[in-house]
Structure formats: C-alpha cells, structure tokens
C-alpha cells in the first residue's frame, strides 16, 4: 500500500540554523500539506500546496518558512532561521486525486529539536 515517507525521523539543530524537512507524498496525489504538533498539543495546519504553488497558509507559516516541490516526487519544508519554539513534530500529508475535499494521509513525522 502506498504511503507518505519523511526524512529525517529526528533532526537536532542549533537556534538560528536552517533546516530542510523532506517528504515523499503518495505518487498520484495532487495536494500536499505540512502540519505541526508541539509536544502535548494538538496538530496545527501550516500550509497546503497544489499545482506548484501555496494554496493556503496559516498564521504560523511566516516568512521563516517556505515549501518547495523541487521535482516530481519530493516536497520540502524549509525553516530559514530556527527558533526554540519551532521544536515540534512536523507531519507531511498528501491527498486528493481531484478536488481537495478528501482523505489526507500522513507521513511518520520528523521530530525537530532546536537547542
């Protein structure tokens, strides 16, 4: 069964450093998402991506964040200058053969620790 994959599983970085989190969505999906979950809290939407552009972003997704689909398979989230409060689990999700109102399938997550 196809699944969403994410690398790395755990990333430790120093405050102020740039990180890139990588995702490979399910191959025939058209919509891609990043969500964040701070430890002990609920999952929060960051950004959605469709047709090679951002379709929606939340207040959390400020200028420090960017997303890219550099080729036909990868979907990346970049944080330019990490802050302590960026420490969280980051989930990539994909969904939608047509239209976005459909099931989103999540990857296993990347645990980001900012020191």
């Amino acid at each position: 069964e196809p699944e969403v994959t994410q690398t790395p599983s755990h990333q430790v970085t120093q405050m102020g450093q740039e990180v890139i989190l990588r995702c490979v969505p399910i191959s025939n999906h058209l919509y891609f998402y990043w969500y964040r979950q701070i430890l002990g809290q609920k999952v929060e939407f960051l950004v959605s991506f469709y047709n090679n552009e951002i379709s929606e972003k939340s207040e959390i997704f400020d200028d420090q964040f960017s997303v890219e689909r550099p080729d036909g398979s990868n979907f990346t989230l970049k944080i330019r200058s990490t802050k302590l409060e960026d420490s969280a689990m980051y989930f990539c999700a994909s969904g939608g053969l047509a239209g976005g109102l459909t099931t989103q399938y999540f990857g296993p997550g990347t645990r980001l620790t900012v020191l």
Binding site: Y35, V43, S48, S55, G100, L101
Partner: protein
Amino acid sequence: AQTVTQSQPEMSVQEAETVTLSCTYDTSENNYYLFWYKQPPSRQMILVIRQEAYKQQNATENRFSVNFQKAAKSFSLKISDSQLGDTAMYFCAFIFSGAGSYQLTFGKGTKLSVIP
C-alpha cells in the same frame, strides 16, 4: 471559523470491552468530511475512519464505528473488543471545501488507555 471539541482528555477501558470517544464540531458548512486519527506513542498519525457529511449511514471499519449526528454536530467513535494496541491518542478532525481551503482542523485529542 470551524472548531472541533473533544471533551474527554483521558479515558480508559478494559481489554475486550467497548469504549466511545466523543467529538463535537461547529460549522456552517454543509459539505465536509470528518475523521478519526490515531496517534500511538510512536507519534505517527494513522487514519482510523472517515465519514462524509452527505452520507446518512454511519461508517464502520472492522472494530471501529462512528455515530454521526449531523444535526447535533456530533461524531463519536466506538471501539469494540478493545485491544492493547488501541492504546493511543485519538484525534477527531474536520475538513470542508469552503473557498478552496482543504486544511484539517483537529481537536485536542483523547488519550485512551486499554488496561489488560
């Protein structure tokens, strides 16, 4: 704004028994989907079950079933014959198609412990 409320922060159930997790939501939309996701200690988000709002029939997936009450905006999850592997956080989530927005809105979760 759409909101999802899970009023039970923690619950426990004996192995092989049945448990029901509650979820209510608030929306003015008519076309939407509802989901239950499971998050075990590994923290991966696993889809348990989904319900389309236009369907009157309650969704079922093996031991998991929902009680969807559209007028009451209620979407509870019933787990039958609970197993130790069901121990996890359970998140209720909502998605609608308003203005091209397809983001999931999650509740705060219910921590379920299955006791041997």
